[in-house]
Symmetry: C2
Subunit: 201 residues, 2 copies
């Protein structure tokens, strides 16, 4: 019964790394959760780090299906999509009593001297997230000023999300996240205001 063993390992590890972090998750944790034995794990992966790499690849390859599609179901407005995505993180915070951390962000700050493959995969995950937001900003067209650097703004949205989660988690209070989103909202509002054709006075 081998078809799913590798997959089970990866998804169990995904969960555990998210819940406890990479260093605090032991191989034994993964084994006990999957009910497999070390021989099987080491048959598929040379070591613990390679499990992490597989996890990061899974996040990367699943960003649409696992993250964006659920968050954007029923939302078509491009700027609405941005805040709908942020709201999906808010929901995660709520359902975990503000224990939730963005899995990539947590790993990015936990691993101080990551293997280069690991670092590049984290960077790729961020880049794809940013790309998705940037596409929304491009789609928003004239609603934001023409000279706005849409890539930079998309990175700033990522920053608002990660910083908001960091503070909400640390204070165990979603209001910290909400206030951050409010600031970002105001920033967007002012950009949209500025993009409007000059009024006649």
């Amino acid at each position: 019964m081998s078809p799913d063993t590798r997959r089970n390992i990866v998804f169990a590890a995904m969960d555990l790394f998210w819940l406890k972090g990479f260093n605090s998750t032991s191989i034994a944790d993964i084994l006990s959760r999957t009910q497999i034995h070390s021989g099987s794990l080491y048959h598929f992966f040379p070591g613990k780090q390679d499990v992490l790499i597989a996890v990061l690849e899974t996040y990367r390859d699943g960003i649409g299906e696992m993250l964006l599609q659920p968050a954007w179901s029923g939302v078509s407005d491009p700027i609405g999509k941005i805040f709908a995505l942020l709201n999906s993180y808010r929901t995660h915070l709520l359902t975990t009593d503000c224990t939730y951390g963005c899995p990539i962000g947590s790993l990015a700050l936990e691993l101080h001297e990551p293997d280069e493959r690991v670092r590049l995969l984290m960077a790729e995950n961020f880049a794809n997230w940013v790309k998705a937001i940037e596409a929304c900003l491009v789609e928003a067209g004239d609603r934001i000023p023409r000279d706005t650097d849409r890539h930079a703004l998309a990175e700033f949205v990522l920053t608002a999300m990660e910083g908001g989660i960091m503070q909400a988690r640390t204070h165990r209070d979603v209001a910290y996240f909400d206030r951050n989103v409010q600031c970002l909202r105001q920033y967007f509002d002012m950009l949209e205001e500025r993009a409007k054709p000059a009024r006649v006075h």
Copy 2:
């Protein structure tokens, strides 16, 4: 020669937690760096976590002397101080090849189930940082709109800093930090613009 032993431990641990994180720093790391022996460390601290608590207390108590004063020397403009503080983080990034992480932010995301004392100390560190920025925003007075929530905006500045560092570190490129600060700058510019008395047309 006991007067400084405790202090030496705390500062060595501060450095190591910053460089490698909490879990990746072993007691042996601290001992070898301080040239003291385990008996001394456990004389002052019940366990590793208590060293972390002392480190967080030291950050908390030293925010003015260790962080704000150096960053603000020669800067008197309140909004200038905000960006001067951000610039001091930029310098850290540059001098560490974008390896630098905010020590509190890294710990906040590394420790998924922190002891309550630890969590509260991290929250206190964030809160004091935010308070310092909030004071600048209050001092800025009429330069930003009267109805601006200065506390929320100060938290947003923290978010911009943390998010910028996270991305710069992950991509190993300070430009990610810079673009975030640019967005924040633009946000402030628009706020200041909005605060100006209505022009005559």
